[in-house]
Symmetry: C2
Subunit: 320 residues, 2 copies
C-alpha cells in the first residue's frame, strides 16, 4: 500500500490530504485558514503540523503540492506569492524532500487543478483542455496532448492578463482592460462602486446599495451576483461585462490553441445562468465557425488543488 | 538514397521540390503561378505536371504537402481554400498516396512553415515557438514540446482572428478589431483608403496619394510601408496600428502559452524598423514581467512551406 500526501498552499487556506495510490477517497484530510498576518514560515509551520497530525509516524510514498502562486515546476521552487509575503524563491520541493525523504512534486494551483479536473473531474477523457479559475484573480492551466503544458518558464495559462478591452479600466498589472480587471470578484466590486459613486451615472443600483446598507466597502463579487439575480441594474451591467470579458478571452484562446474543452471553476462561476449564457454566447461568437469547443463548470470544487496534487504525483510515477 | 518530394499549394502559386533525405539542398525545384481563374482541379493538374517534370520516372520515398488553407492533418483532407474554389473536403493525402503509392503527409501552410523554421530556420534549437505569417492574411502555427501542436480539430494558431480592439473596424469574419483586420496588407490598404477619402481626416497622406497617382485602388501594404519610411502621415498611422495589433496579440499569446520564441514571416514583416520597434515594445508591455520571449524574423522566406513539407515527412519518419 502506497500513500500519497497531497498539500495545498492556498494563500488564504492550507489543506492536506492522504490517499492510497489509485483510490479516490481521502484516508485523512485537514484544512486550516491561514492567519491574516501569515508569512511563508508561519504557513510552512502550520502545514508541518497538519502533516504530522495526518501521517503520525507513517512515511508517504510521494508528496504532491499545489501552490497558490507562480512556481518553477522543473525545480519545484516557488517564485513568489501574491497573497503571503516571504515566499520569494523558496525551494519548496527541496525543503519537503529533505524533511520527508520522498519524491515531491510542486506546481502552481491552476496547473495542478487543470490536471486534477482532467484526471478526476469534468475533463475525464479529454486530452486537451484549458482550466480557468475565476475568483479573487483569474488564472488558467493547460492540458495538451494529455499532459500539462507549463510554458517555457512555467508561466503558461495567464489568461487573466490577456487584454480584451484596450480602452478599458487600468489593471494592477499596468495594462488596460485585462480579463481579470473586468471579470474577477474584487474588480467587479470596484467597478460597481465606481458606477454607484459617479454622480453622472444613469443606473441606480438601489438593490445593490440596500444589500450593503449603503456601505460600498462591503461590496463583493458574490453580492453583485445576488443583486443581479434580483434585477439590479448596476449589478447586471457589471456582471455582464465580466461574462463578456471571459467569453471574449475564451474565444480568443479557442482560435489560438483549439482545445476541446474549457473548464471554469472559482467563486465567480456561481454567478448564475445569465452570466454563463453571456459567456457562452460571446465565446462562440468570438471563435471562428470551424473552431468548436465545450465549456463546462469544474467538478472538483474546493478540493481541485488537492486532487490535482495527487494527480501530479501519479503523472510523474517515478516513485512507483 | 531516399528522395523526399515536397509540394506547396499556395493559393496564388504552386511549387514542388525534391531533396535527398537529410540534405538541405534542392535536387530539383519548380515554381508556377496559379492561373487567376484556377480551381482545385486545375491546381492539381498543374501540380501533377510539375511533379512529373521533376521526378521523371523516379519514385519518391515519401511526399510532404503544405496547403494554403485549413486541413484536417490527421486524415490529410483539405477543408477548404479561401483563395481557390473547389477544394472543399478534397482528400489530398489519399489522392496522392493512390497516385504515387507512397506515404504522404499533408498539413496547412502555417503549421508546416512553423515546423520548417524550427527544423531548418530561425527556430533551430527551440522546443517551443509560435510562427506567424503576416501578408494577405495573418496565420500562425505552434511547436510545443518540440512537436507541432495542431489543436483538437487542427485549427490551432488562428491569431489572425484574435480580437484586440473590440470597438475597431469590422473584419470579414464578422468580429471587430481582429489582428488580421488591423495588421494584414490588404486591410492596411483599406484603412489607408478610408482615411484618405474621409473629408474630416486631419492627416493629408500626400506622399501616399502621389505613389499611386491618386488612384487609391492601387494602394497595397507594401506601398504603405514605403510611404511610411518616407514620413507620410497616413501611412505611418496605419502601419503603427498594424504593429500595435500584432504586438498586443503576441503579448497575449505569451501570457497564455509562454513559448520561448515568436518567428514572424510574410511580406508585411518587411515594413521596416519602426514597425518592428512598435511591435516589440507593445508585445513586451502586454506580457507580464515574468513572461519573457524573443521575436525573430523568419529565416526561410518563400521556401518555408516547401522546407516545412520536407520536415513534415522527416517528423513522421514512418517511411524510413
Amino acid at each position: 500500500m502506497r500513500l500519497i500526501l497531497a498539500l495545498d498552499f492556498g494563500g488564504t487556506k492550507l489543506a492536506a490530504g492522504v490517499v492510497n495510490a489509485g483510490s479516490r477517497e481521502w484516508l485523512y484530510y485537514e484544512r486550516r485558514l491561514s492567519p491574516a498576518n501569515a508569512d511563508a514560515s508561519t504557513d510552512l509551520k502550520i502545514m508541518r503540523s497538519l502533516i504530522h497530525s495526518l501521517l503520525q509516524d507513517v512515511t508517504p510514498a510521494a508528496i504532491g503540492v499545489s501552490f497558490g502562486g507562480p512556481v518553477d515546476a522543473t525545480t519545484g521552487t516557488v517564485r513568489l506569492s501574491h497573497h503571503v509575503p516571504g515566499w520569494e524563491n523558496i525551494p519548496l520541493k527541496n525543503l519537503l524532500e529533505e524533511e520527508f525523504g520522498v519524491l515531491t512534486s510542486v506546481d502552481n494551483d491552476a496547473n495542478v487543478a487543470a490536471l486534477g479536473e482532467q484526471q478526476f473531474g469534468a475533463g475525464q477523457g479529454y486530452d486537451s483542455l484549458f482550466y480557468m479559475t475565476i475568483s479573487t484573480g483569474v488564472g488558467g492551466g493547460w492540458i495538451l496532448n494529455g499532459k500539462p503544458w507549463r510554458g517555457a518558464m512555467g508561466m503558461a495559462g495567464e489568461i487573466g492578463h490577456m487584454v480584451v478591452d484596450p480602452t478599458g479600466p487600468i489593471c494592477l498589472c499596468g495594462k488596460r482592460g485585462c480579463v481579470e480587471r473586468l471579470a474577477s470578484g474584487p474588480y467587479m466590486a470596484q467597478n460597481a462602486r465606481e458606477i454607484l459613486t459617479n454622480p453622472q451615472a444613469i443606473l441606480s443600483g438601489e438593490l445593490l446599495k440596500n444589500l450593503v446598507g449603503n456601505n460600498l466597502n462591503l461590496l463583493t463579487g458574490q453580492l453583485i451576483s445576488e443583486a443581479a439575480a434580483k434585477g439590479d441594474d448596476v449589478a447586471t451591467t457589471v456582471l455582464q461585462k465580466s461574462a463578456w470579458a471571459l467569453g471574449l478571452g475564451i474565444g480568443n484562446v479557442a482560435n489560438l490553441v483549439n482545445p476541446k474543452l474549457f473548464i471554469l471553476g472559482g467563486s465567480v462561476t456561481k454567478a448564475g445562468k445569465s452570466w454563463w449564457d453571456t459567456l457562452q454566447k460571446t465565446a462562440k461568437e468570438t471563435a471562428l465557425p470551424e473552431v468548436t469547443f465545450e465549456i463546462l463548470p469544474a467538478a472538483l470544487g474546493d478540493d481541485a488543488p488537492l486532487w490535482g496534487a495527487v494527480a501530479l504525483v501519479e503523472e510523474i510515477g517515478r516513485w512507483e
